[in-house]
Amino acid sequence: MAVLVIAESNGKTIDRGTLSAISAAMKIDDSVDLIIFDESQEVVNFAKKISGLKKVIFCKGALEGTLAENISPVVVDLSQNYSHILSSAGTFGKNIMPRIAALCDSQQISDISDIINEDTFVRPIYAGNALATIKSSDDKKFITVRATAFQAADINTGQAESEEGPKVEQYGKIEFSGRELSKSDRPELTAAKIVVSGGRGMGSGENFAILDSLADKLGAAVGASRAAVDAGYVPNDYQVGQTGKVVAPELYIAIGISGAIQHLAGMKDSKVIVAINKDEEAPIFQIADFGLVGDLFKIIPELTEKLD
């Protein structure tokens, strides 16, 4: 039976995590459809070009915010035609999928990092300090996918057909009233090829400016440890770690970060890790491919200047 992926979109494009969920879906079955809750033709056109998709179903009436209460009944109805329903394990998927799974009396499988076969999956538990291989006995499987564990589906060669799905009805007891998104010209943290992160060693929010310069030079996203967020240097959506975002870029540069287990859980799957810290005993050096001991306030400006 076919697989349905629920897209996260923003009126312009499809989220990178959704592209990973599509790749994961294709490992389960060749026949993969995508459902979009977005009025934008631009998003539908984008989706039709994603490689491997059979059909793009777009539903109108979801309104801003794409509330779980509104869209769940639509997915529940459509789920009759599918064996697996997937979404990425970002805050969007985490919010909607359990609601849909429970309405179908199915025990969801969260945040899978590997697929053994159509009913057996691997997922990190204890913040990635252990991996569990899980077999589901539910007829229909509801799954969220760890985006960093699957390659993004290719976005240029697809030729999916599109059709309009059921209209989304308003649930009524809840309303979307606004969003405050962090404004940045930089790539999104979980999609960036390079991430530059600062920790408590940065000393203040103002000092993050030197990371911004380095990030701009590298085309990188800026992240932070929980310690830096708790100290009020940067907002919570910068947070990389067990209680924040999970990233796996090509290059992760940890600056003034000691390397608490909680932080490592969010970045240890990065391809190359660089650590810059004045404390040579900092645990971060044990997992870093390249460590540089010294004063970050000297090293970072020098590094920024010497990169071309």
């Binding site: 025990q107 969801q108 959506d237």
Partner: protein, 249 residues
């Protein structure tokens, strides 16, 4: 208003976890257990609502073996009023937990359930949303700020790109994110008082719900260990390594 706060007993977040010799689970024998940190935030929020005169009673519920009562008492010491202990030796999956919680919500006439957004053992992040689904209530997940005015709740929630605000009507489900509040330390007099608060014990088999798990754990393993530890002398060497050896810039 009556608030229900479910709490889960988990391995303390400071403990370095180990997979057992059989590779079937994480070792929990002789390991320090504590209340799931996100649940502490949920208890704290409920207590603050009571202190603000918005809530009248806070019911604490935990599902698990005898040890769960200790976790309920921890919540009592923070300000919970009375407890329900659903006794079972088995591990309960989020869907089963949601069904159990629904029974309690209906029986106790609960108006608001505040839950941790996820437990730090299995990291599922499902129970609150599932409970909202089967009660047909609105859900404010990953909350970082709550404003309650009569029957209206304004919830600011943490989303990937920043913050989002939703307005919903009570009854409702809230799940907590880290920045919602900073849980208090229980005072000694409150710890003493907690010992006298009432916990009613209910055997899971006495509930008329299907408690069968749907997921079978075939194996638990340690993740691959990352080999690091190499140091470079200066910025020039670092740039050279990143360019030539790693090829990432």
């Amino acid at each position: 208003m009556k608030i229900l706060v479910p709490v889960k007993r988990v391995i303390d977040y400071n403990v370095k976890i180990r997979v057992n010799a059989e590779g079937s689970a994480v070792e929990t024998n002789n390991v320090k257990m504590s209340m799931n940190p996100f649940d502490e935030i949920a208890v704290e929020e409920a207590v603050r609502l009571k202190e603000a005169g918005i809530a009248e009673e806070i019911i604490i519920v935990s599902i698990g073996d005898k040890g769960a009562q200790e976790t309920i008492r921890t919540a009592f010491a923070m300000g919970g009023d009375r407890g329900v202990h659903i006794l079972t030796d088995k591990n309960t999956e989020p869907l089963v937990v949601a069904k159990i919680l629904k029974e309690i919500v209906v029986k106790e006439n609960v108006d608001l359930v505040i839950l941790g957004k996820q437990a730090i053992d299995d990291d599922s992040n499902q129970t609150g949303q599932m409970l909202a689904a089967i009660l047909d209530w609105p859900q404010g997940t990953f909350a970082s700020k709550l404003d309650i005015d009569g029957k209206k709740i304004k919830v600011v929630r943490e989303i990937d790109g920043g913050l989002e605000t939703l307005e919903m009507t009570i009854p409702a489900i809230i799940t907590t994110d880290l920045r919602l509040n900073e849980p208090r330390y229980a005072s000694l007099p409150n710890i003493m008082k907690a010992k006298r608060k009432e916990i009613s014990e209910v055997n899971i088999d006495d509930l008329k719900i299907d408690t069968k798990n749907r997921l079978e754990v075939l194996k638990v393993s340690e993740p691959a260990i990352r080999e690091g530890g190499r140091k470079v002398e200066d910025v020039d060497e670092l740039i050279k390594m990143l360019k030539n050896e790693a090829g990432v810039i």
